[in-house]
Amino acid sequence: MTQTIRVRINGTAREHAVEPRLLLVHYLREVCGLTGTHIGCETSICGACTVLVDGKAVKSCTMLAVQADGSDVTTIEGLARNGSLHPVQEGFWECHGLQCGYCTPGMIMAGVEILQRHARPTREQIAEGLKGNLCRCTGYVHIIDAIERAAGARRAERGVGGDLKW
């Protein structure tokens, strides 16, 4: 038995008939072909599958596609605008916030939410916001640098504060 869902993904309206047991991450990757969202553990621990649902970071392996019916979903593919990287993506680029890159999409999506919550996060607030995202390469320091840089860049973009010391 399938159920029809309508979801806006990265600004594009989509409509599909899905089985209720289909996980959101499988829907994004296999039905929509958006493979930027990764599957690490599939057990709600690693955060590689993090996407934004109605602006909130969620682990898409722990949500059913049918639960996202009517929602706005943003994946890593939806962050860049007109060919320019999102400040958090740019932060990861500039600070080399990765080694193997597997956890990166989830880290970036979690980072975007951290900046929604705290315009000027401390390193502790960034670390706390990344508690649900595991990286087995970097030791996290460059990842925190990347998000800290993005916070500075974002302030500069808006013309507030804007001290780009990191």
């Binding site: 682990k59 049918v66 508690k131």
Partner: protein, 281 residues
Amino acid sequence: MIPATFSYARPTTIDEAIALLTKHGSGAKVLAGGHSLLPAMKLRLAQPEVLIDIGRIAGLNTIAERDGRVVIGTMATHAEIESSALVARACPLLGQVAARIGDAQVRNRGTIGGSLVHADPGADFPAAILALDAELRLASPRGSRSVKAAAFFEAMMQTVVQPDELLFEITVPKTATSAAYVKSEQKASGFAICGVAAIVDAQAKTVAVGVTGVASKPYRATAVEAALRGRALTPDAVAAAAALAANGVEPLGDIHASPEYRAHLAAVNTKRAILKAVAQG
């Protein structure tokens, strides 16, 4: 990691949800935030035939003040409770506890009601709910009833909620700032190995202590409360009373902590929580 097949219903009112629960009987399960149920279904530890998603019932996540109490809808997420200005003002203990649950993503989806009904022995909210003497309101085809927190938890992962019942709100008294939550957690998930919620009423000279993670179900540390009734809360008096924190319970032992260690943590965290609550008053 794919759940077994089930059918999915999304009622828009409490009555409709109750009618669905009644119709499908024990084959049905309520789906709230899904952060306990979906992992269990992926492991096929749970294989409900019908999922009744209560996530779109209007008003079920409301946090409001009513008759001098704080009323929290069952679908209020941990994140909503953590960031609620009303909670921060009228019952800060709940906000403190919510902020310590899992991680940001878990807090965005997990709900207070789901946590209470699931009754994981390491869940955080039960400690606070017990210390606050919360009331839990349940709806069923027989009407609605109120259950006191002290009577809600029956055993490990078992509460008084019947298969055709829906928890719809939790009400707590407004409490002063003299409250604290101290937990030792399992690092990977955040679940409490021992979590202690303490509320100090300086005027009445009473202390309320809820403990989670230590035993198969959360409990009130009544021996500690009795030892401190009417007493000045000096560090020595608190430490002596806190040593009774695991009195009369059978502490759990698992790969994370032995029963002896859990009992030890119960005493240490009880002392810290009470002293922290005193300092905040």
